[in-house]
Subunit: 379 residues, 2 copies
């Protein structure tokens, strides 16, 4: 990066909603944006300077895409890391570094990373196949996770007793002890090239037990001050040891004793940071641009408390999306709608989100419930 004031060329691998929101924020800065994705009609496809149709998992496609860029980032971990390593050698800034992606994309390496850095995480065993899994009856209840390829609730199964072994995976996986979760917390950590760090306040996540998808999320999280300190220290330790600039969403469990366990980390803008667009001074998307472009860090403080609700394609509908009830939500004070522009809805597909901000925290859950009862995404 020769000159921080000239227009830099930055690429994004993946063109989903995270790319879309990154590009909304990019238009505030002098930057030329490029997106690679197989589907030109993807959520981010029309919001960049140059769209490149290509396979983010293909070595040649990624290498070709990255040549001559100043910086490159991802909106999904499942990309060709070998090509990124080659581009890194050629001087392209890859944030997060490919070395981080190698760890993150493999749930076994990720667990070993936590162990190695003495980061508390649920104990685990590695299973090669179904046979292997069935030997672990004494380890139950546990969570079975595919080592690679899982995403957004796919590739994760809770196995409470031996009768449920059939839900497990017949592939290389990790079996983690089930933590008796009291709260699920996520902390976003930003790290720039100067190794300066900034933490967003922890959020409290509530999941849909059926879809295993984020249902709604409160900020700030309702945790005690000692837990807050613990959560922040752990998130910082997780992020800093990667030795990479970028944004890191560290998901943690808090149990009844206030003990904290890292669940997993996403080295990118993340669903748990969507509320930062309206509720915080510097959004997670703005922050990543600041890091990519070499600008100073932004202010992670919240302007107001917030709740964020994911909009998920309703069961029983597949096809061109229709959004029922948007009017009801848009009539609510300080509810912000984000529809991702996906052409087709599918049961459980993330189609958008809604953030509500308020000076009254009590207000938020009530309004979140209103939203959930008002909106239907059908076809």
């Amino acid at each position: 990066m020769q000159n921080p004031s000239s227009v830099l060329r930055v690429g994004i691998l993946g063109g989903g909603q995270l790319g879309r929101m990154l590009l909304q924020a990019a238009a505030n800065y002098p930057v030329e944006t490029r997106v690679m994705e197989n589907d030109p009609e993807c959520p981010a496809g029309h919001l960049c300077h140059h769209f490149v149709k290509g396979d983010i998992k293909n070595f040649d496609d990624v290498l070709q895409f990255g040549k001559g860029l100043d910086a490159l980032t991802i909106e999904i971990e499942n990309v060709n890391v070998e090509a990124l390593e080659q581009l890194e050698k050629e001087g392209v800034k890859i944030f997060p570094k490919p070395s981080v992606l190698r760890i993150i994309r493999d749930k076994i390496l990720q667990k070993q990373y936590y162990q190695q850095h003495q980061i508390p995480t649920a104990s685990f065993v590695i299973t090669q196949n179904s046979e292997d899994l069935k030997k672990q009856e004494s380890f139950l209840p546990a969570v079975h996770k595919l080592a690679t390829g899982g995403y957004d609730g796919r590739g994760v199964q809770i196995i409470r007793s031996k009768e449920e072994f059939e839900k497990g995976f017949d592939e290389l996986s990790v079996l983690e002890k089930l933590i008796p979760v009291q709260k699920e917390i996520a902390v976003l950590v930003a790290i720039n090239e100067k190794k300066e760090t900034a933490l967003y306040p922890p959020v409290e996540m509530h999941f849909d037990p059926v879809l295993n998808l984020l249902d709604y999320q409160l900020c700030p999280a309702g945790i005690t001050t000692p837990t807050l300190y613990k959560v922040e220290a752990i998130a910082l330790t997780v992020a800093k040891n990667f030795n990479s600039p970028g944004l890191f969403a560290v998901e943690m469990f808090v149990d009844k004793n206030g003990d904290v366990f890292v669940n997993e980390t996403a080295p990118r803008v993340h669903n748990s940071g969507h509320h930062t667009i309206e509720a915080h001074y510097c959004s997670q998307f703005d922050m990543l641009w600041r890091i990519l472009l070499g600008y100073p860090m932004g202010n992670t403080k919240q302007v107001l408390d917030s709740v964020m609700i994911n909009l998920i394609g309703n069961n029983g509908y597949s096809g061109p999306a229709i959004y029922e009830g948007l009017d009801v939500v848009l009539k609510m004070e300080n509810a912000f709608v984000h529809i991702y522009g996906k052409k087709e809805t599918k049961p459980g597909r993330k189609m958008g989100h809604i953030t509500i901000i308020s000076r009254e925290k009590q207000d938020l859950l009530h309004k979140a419930n209103q939203v959930k009862h008002s909106i239907k995404i059908i076809s």
Copy 2:
């Protein structure tokens, strides 16, 4: 508009910074966006679903562009109104209505509109040419404005004495009595199809006396409550009598007696509303989408006080833009940078803006000055 939940197709005539910011906001909604502009490298060109290269002043180009759209809006008044009238007949929603543009784009008709609706405005005479102008010595000091074609400080001259007649225009123009201005105020009024209205708090504008371009702007304006009520009532009267949905920026002068005079009105998103992106719950851009898409009105209240500073190309530099001092501004707490992505800077050209929000109003002017001394746009 058959179905408020299906994806509507909306066009924008003009691809400048207003279009750019409109498109950043559009990506929150299920809408397919189209932009027409002659230059594909314009600020808004890469942020829409379909860019159409064309002349917004050309009948055929505008007609062709608008065919089959659900709604159409403008980011500059200087468009082909005849084509818009034809499209309106064909059922395309044009917000603001072409009838409004006919009035606004002609400064004489605009003055007559204010007269007709008993809206206070500086008294005026019409001048056909230089000869005509020179007969108006007794009317001085006054402001001479080209009837049509003026924009962003061009086509306006202050004439204080007969020695300055040569600065006037040798074309159809309007000569307005110079108001001894104490404050320049702007109020944004939103009106939807149901004729519901929403007012943004008045802003106080400070102009560069040389360039006649907005220098910085404070929100809320420092005016007394009686003046506030007057300003709001006048802005509402101006906007409502157009009988058109849309967003209306009503610029007013307040003199030492607290008397209010309408200067001019822009029937669109406007420079005086840029601060609403960060400082208000619903930005002017979000609001226009709500109106175009038939959604409920948003909340115009401010989250925090704000100051907005235009970033203008420095004198002596023409060519590919370089932004000096962005780092200094991005280090300031709660300063938000918007660079418009114009390839070339020119002296006086609007290249971007910066909004600062704060809980301390005293803080704002101090920070605005810091910004102005930190940033240089050169080539």
